[in-house]
């Protein structure tokens, strides 16, 4: 309740602070426009062409359903990775032995290119939701796992002593001492993993499915329709930016208010 009011009160200032990001994105568009002037319509249409194509796609309604399908797959894989990665990572962090054992496994998972998992997934799950969801899960899992493990490993021994000296009951130790600390590691990992999910799902769809943004990209590529390709890319990137800056970043600030220096 209190937190909600505080969040609402801080919202205008937060949104206004986005102008700096808007400025740098507009500078990127200027660079794009400049490059488009060199290469011409077929290779690199200018941003206005891409934006108007995107507006057409959105107005036609088709883009929304494709984005919805892609979002469903990305979120499914992400939520699975979030649950499994957080739980297993915390468990591994609590035991030195488990942490030692899991480290090389995680390195292998991170080091394996997502495209390799995609090929395996195609063999295992065929052309359906299973393939992109699995690929997203495998790509996002190790990032969350490592974050959770680090969080559990780095709990401050002095604060644990404090909890003992002040006779904190077990539930309070968890909610007041351990969780806030672990969350400060988990949250950034979740955000990174969400970004990975969103990128990987498009790649998986491009090769494995007949619907979703990835599949739409495959179609525009085969038609040599660069403007539409760029429009889809803008849609994917725009969605990620919106989720990150309108949802996750304010949430992160609310959760980690105690960290901020301003």
């Amino acid at each position: 309740m209190n937190a909600a009011v505080r969040w609402l009160a801080g919202l205008p200032a937060y949104l206004w602070s986005g102008w700096g990001a808007v400025a740098s994105l507009l500078l990127c568009l200027a660079l794009w426009e400049w490059l488009a002037g060199f290469y011409g319509e077929l290779i690199l249409p200018d941003p206005r062409a891409a934006l108007s194509t995107l507006a057409g796609l959105l107005a036609g309604g088709g883009a929304w359903s494709e984005l919805g399908i892609t979002a469903r797959r990305a979120l499914a894989g992400f939520v699975l990775a979030l649950a499994a990665g957080s739980a297993l990572g915390l468990a591994a962090g609590l035991s030195m032995t488990a942490a030692m054992m899991s480290r090389p496994v995680v390195t292998v998972l991170i080091g394996t290119p997502p495209i390799a998992w995609l090929v395996l997934a195609l063999l295992w799950f065929g052309a359906g939701d299973g393939t992109p969801v699995f690929t997203v899960f495998v790509a996002a899992f190790p990032v969350i796992f490592v974050g959770a493990m680090q969080g559990a490993r780095t709990v401050d021994g002095q604060l644990a002593e404090l909890a003992a000296a002040y006779r904190l009951p077990a539930r309070m130790r968890l909610t007041d001492v351990y969780l806030p600390h672990v969350l400060s590691y988990l949250f950034p990992a979740w955000i990174t993993a969400l970004g990975i999910s969103w990128k990987v799902v498009v790649m998986a769809e491009l090769l494995a499915t007949s619907d979703g943004v990835g599949a739409a990209l495959a179609v525009t590529r085969s038609h040599l329709d660069t403007a539409a390709t760029l429009a889809w890319i803008l849609a994917v990137v725009g969605t990620l930016l919106a989720v990150e800056y309108l949802l996750l970043e304010p949430l992160k600030r609310a959760v980690e208010r105690w960290r901020s220096t301003t």
Partner: protein
């Protein structure tokens, strides 16, 4: 003779500090040159002989006449203060003022001699200003104010380009547009210094000791970078023939966003509406709107570029100059800024003038009426300001202090 003695005293007072002659002529010329332009637009047979045509004369006089006068008045006073260096000698102030005057007179002459006279006078004026400012800015131990130096140098470049185009038969207007960009960047630099004092003083006055206003360099630098890039790309497009309009358009939008971004430093609660704080904030808002319109026009929105350009000039430059004339132009004469109702009214009138001038771009049918209405407000504001500032700046200081010294600590608050 009595009148000769009075002249001597008056001249002595005028040259007491760099801002005195320049702030006075800025206000006077701002009103007069615009009145001439409006009269000519309405069909009066005025100045039909000026080189390059009346439009060029109007643009040149407002940017390099009005704008530069106010800028030099500010720099001649502020640079010694910021850098803790020696005051600008009276002879320099006199010489620079004379050069400015020669440039105005030259502009009214027709033909090649007039053009050459303006070119020589204006180039020497800016080179002289650079000669005064450079050693002081460079000699500052931390060199915190070098931005003014780069700004002045860029302005000198624009002046050279402009006159080369006029005398060599090229296109001079793009150089004036570039000068507008340089002035915008300089306004951001100067306002960051001025606002630190104004806003924190307002916070203190409200008893809001917990809050502190800081003009943070990263945000300011982003804004200056965007403005500078826009200026450079637009100038390159116009002079080198590169198809730069949409590129410059996106950059103008980026500059607008970066200027809105500066507002983050200012959002400290109700202090934003304090007497001297809001006008400074509005300068940034109007500049941002100006770049927004410029960008939209460059990207194909049905709007003349001049609408955005005039929001920058009337709103960004006019309002900031008016505020500086009223703050620095009084404090360094030993009196507190005015506390009466006229200043808020003048600010509101200038904002209205800006809106009317921008509206002329949206409603071409009404443009002549809107031009006159907007210009009338502008002329009124600066005429009244001149009338109020003249008695203060043309007479010796009444507080017993000398030169550019600020208000004495124990001085009573002025009404």
């Amino acid at each position: 003779m009595l009148s000769a003695a009075r002249w001597r005293v008056g001249l002595e007072a005028l040259l007491l500090c760099g801002f005195r002659p320049f702030f006075l002529v800025a206000a006077a010329w701002g009103a007069l040159a615009l009145a001439v332009w409006l009269a000519a637009l309405s069909g009066a047979p005025l100045l039909s002989w000026v080189p390059g045509g009346l439009l060029l004369w109007h643009a040149h006089e407002m940017v390099l006449g009005f704008g530069v006068a106010a800028l030099l008045g500010f720099l001649l006073t502020a640079v010694p203060e910021f850098t803790g260096s020696a005051a600008v000698p009276r002879g320099w102030t006199a010489a620079l003022s004379a050069l400015w005057l020669v440039a105005r007179i030259g502009g009214l002459f027709g033909g090649a001699p007039g053009a050459w006279l303006v070119a020589l006078a204006e180039t020497t004026l800016l080179a002289g200003a650079l000669a005064v400012a450079a050693p002081r800015l460079w000699g500052d131990p931390e060199r915190r104010h070098l931005a003014f130096l780069w700004g002045l140098a860029a302005l000198l470049g624009c002046v050279l380009g402009y006159h080369a185009a006029v005398l060599g038969g090229g296109a001079p207007l793009p150089w004036l547009y570039a000068a507008v960009g340089v002035l915008m960047a300089l306004i951001v630099v100067a306002l960051s210094r001025i606002s630190m004092r104004v806003v924190n003083a307002a916070l203190e006055e409200r008893g809001d000791g917990a809050q502190e206003y800081l003009a943070r360099p990263p945000r300011r630098n982003l804004a200056i970078f965007c403005i500078a890039l826009h200026t450079a790309v637009e100038l390159a497009g116009a002079t080198l023939g590169a198809p730069a309009a949409p590129v410059a358009g996106w950059i103008a939008l980026a500059a607008a966003a970066a200027l809105f971004n500066l507002g983050n430093d200012w959002h400290l609660g109700r202090v934003l509406f304090a007497r001297w704080v809001l006008p400074l904030y509005l300068v940034y808002v109007l500049m941002a709107l100006g770049y927004l319109l410029l960008g939209a026009a460059s990207l194909g929105f049905a709007l003349p570029l001049s609408a955005g350009r005039h929001v920058l000039m009337v709103g960004g430059m006019g309002l900031s100059i008016y505020v500086v004339l009223n703050i620095a132009g009084r404090i360094h004469a030993g009196v507190q800024p005015e506390s009466g109702p006229w200043v808020p009214w003048a600010v509101a009138l200038l904002v209205t003038a800006t809106v009317l001038r921008a509206a002329a771009g949206f409603a071409p049918g009404w443009a002549p009426v809107l031009w006159v209405a907007s210009g009338g407000l502008w002329i009124g504001v600066f005429t009244v300001h001149f009338a109020r500032a003249w008695p203060l700046l043309s007479r010796p200081r009444a507080d017993g202090q000398s030169g550019c010294a600020g208000v004495a600590e124990d001085a009573p608050a002025a009404r």
